[in-house]
Symmetry: C2
């Protein structure tokens, strides 16, 4: 009666959602303040005041028939010009606005990009751990989804493993830095080696391999961490951007695809992006929020709150005996499960009202993801529970 594939996708919601729903239940039972929910990557820092002010300005100063009108399919030309300017000025990359396609957020950026480039028989590579929907998006576009494990401990790119995974069918490689779920930022060295491998393998197999950079967390990098602008290192790059995290607008679904202007055949690739946007029903991203992000380019939420959460959580959990990857960005802590079965660990954590996400669905068993995009006071209140959980596994003296 319906598409079996879509039915299965609709019925099997993600483990993250399941845990979140469990949390809703527990909040009702014992009160929200007693549940330490670290399951969802929903930004806790509110959108800044300037977002509200600019939206109010738009409502007052722009005639409704202009403000809410259709833009062209690829987006408002002024908005696209401003984003190209921003890329040129901020990253020193010669961006052209004709290669920018406004989208309804990060998911749309990825599905439109994948549908634009994938043909039957193509393979798309992602590095484990990876955002689980990559697999759904790649397979829906018709690709075979291939995973390559990251380096253990550092979670940087395993260059040799990547080299071996690429074959004549490889159409694209997806990177996500700062990373969900590890919080790791790919170093310039990692990007250079990645670009080198893609250049060599593209030449060897006689066709370009696209590098898809999924970077909704670009602005969420802490301390001295630098997030390299990938088109500067590899010409056949497609950037999938979203303002969901940088401006705390996750529900508003606004982002863009940028087909790197120095790409071979950038115009042609952009035409395919337009075609995929049309075929999937993604033309004209939400108009008022297009105009909003134009006014907010280069501005972000107050990321010092996430930074404080990061330090508090990493230091505390380390002191209790847990082992975690030191996160340079995003708002996730990637914790090694004290036992091989991370589901069992997450179940045990529930005894202390700690809601963590097993990383098995991210392609990385034995780890759990802790989303610290919560109020700092939740972290402070949760620390005794983490200490008890540590005691359970490591003994009382930790």
């Amino acid at each position: 009666m319906v598409s079996d594939k879509m039915l299965q996708l609709g019925r099997h919601s993600s483990v993250i959602r399941d845990i979140f729903e469990y949390g809703n239940q527990r909040r009702k039972e014992i009160g929200a303040e007693n549940v330490f929910d670290f399951s969802l990557g929903n930004p806790s820092v509110p959108a800044p005041d300037f977002v509200r002010e600019e939206l109010e300005n738009l409502l007052v100063n722009t005639p409704a028939e202009v403000l809410h009108a259709y833009t062209s399919a690829a987006g408002d030309s002024g908005v696209r010009l401003a984003i190209a300017d921003y890329i040129r000025n901020n990253f020193g990359y010669p961006a052209e606005s004709k290669h920018i396609y406004m989208t309804v957020g990060a998911a749309a950026s990825l599905t439109v990009t994948l549908n634009a480039i994938v043909e039957n028989g193509d393979e798309v590579i992602a590095f484990a751990p990876y955002f689980p929907e990559y697999k759904v998006f790649a397979e829906t576009a018709g690709a075979k989804f291939i995973t390559v494990n990251s380096e253990p401990e550092t979670f940087q790119i395993d260059a040799k493993a990547l080299y071996n995974a690429i074959n004549v069918n490889t159409k694209a490689v997806i990177v996500n830095s700062p990373n969900n779920p590890t919080g790791v930022v790919l170093t310039e060295d990692s990007i250079k080696r990645l670009a080198d491998i893609l250049d060599r393998r593209s030449a060897e197999f006689g066709h370009p391999i696209f590098l898809i950079c999924d970077e909704p967390y670009r602005e969420l990098a802490f301390g001295n961490a630098i997030v390299p602008y990938v088109p500067l290192y590899y010409k056949n790059t497609i950037v999938c951007y979203s303002f969901s995290k940088s401006l705390s607008l996750p529900g508003e679904r606004i982002g863009y695809i940028y087909v790197a202007s120095q790409m071979e055949e950038a115009d042609m690739v952009f035409d395919a992006v337009c075609g995929a946007g049309r075929a999937l029903g993604f033309v004209c991203a939400p108009a008022m929020f297009q105009l909003l992000v134009k006014r907010c380019l280069g501005k972000t939420v107050d990321i010092s709150i996430y930074n404080r959460n990061r330090t508090l959580l990493f230091d505390s959990l380390s002191s209790y005996g847990f082992s975690a990857v030191y996160p340079d960005g995003a708002f996730y802590l990637f914790l090694k499960s004290p036992v091989a079965d991370s589901y069992a660990f997450c179940e045990k954590a529930k005894d202390y009202e700690l809601l963590l996400v097993p990383a098995d669905d991210f392609g990385c068993p034995g780890y759990v993801r802790i989303a610290y995009c919560v109020g700092t006071e939740q972290i402070e209140r949760s620390l005794p529970a983490f200490a008890k959980l540590a005691s359970y596994y490591f003994g009382g003296d930790k």
Copy 2:
């Protein structure tokens, strides 16, 4: 290097867009007031003041971390409840909110619906003339796109032709009323006959045939025209709705899919809709506009302006000798081309700065679409040009 199918879709933009671009050029050359552009279905009546007021209220009274947060994939539960209430109260149909999926406008409603139900080998039927993107959406979902001509003159459903077009592979039939491009509203009698045929053919072939109702123009019906609520007549109906026209918010991309609650296996079909939304990247429609439409249910723009345009244009063009379908709804006049080649007619119209759209891409050669969602003064100023165009074809005495 890219998907050939998507490249073709991206490169071959619609004839409507081409004419609109031509109009932009002419506006620069001779001034906007001298170009009579009837090409685009972009609402001319601005969003009502209550839309701005409600948006301002939301910005002032809702904390940003709530207002702009992710909703659940299918949409905010309060919004879905309100829409189900509205359907119950307004149409007398027992709608349940669990069958409503909020979407990013009409295009998304259609692509998600089609991807949810279509399996390989399926056929989807639409009535010519039809919105050209139906073909793109159906084929992208993997269906064979079949067209059935409407009744000549009335542009109601040709029941016999529909009956004959349905076979064991028919998965769905799409109707669009009030119609783009004809402006025709399907009568209750048409809907009843349609439901009867679908019931009989579903029984005969042993599987339900879905009826997809694309109804962004539902509220734009004039005079005594009544737009029947189709789920009352046929249980296996999926309503694809958008607020683009009713509230003049075309750029904001907000609408919904409603899987009729009395459908066989409505829950299962809704699960497939959720799966398709996930696979295409359409989860959580724009949050602030979800909350807005909840506050505006049952309200519309001032449609008396469209009604005035309709009467003025229909009466004037008829008096000049043109022949058109009398439109009961939407904001389109469907004019018979005085010559068989409607492209040639539209080219000739350009000599008088009249920009009309040949209906060939709508599957109906020999007609042109006139979008009268423009200022009434544009219509008034254009009448001498239409009169001259009529003189060219019919002689000076008309």
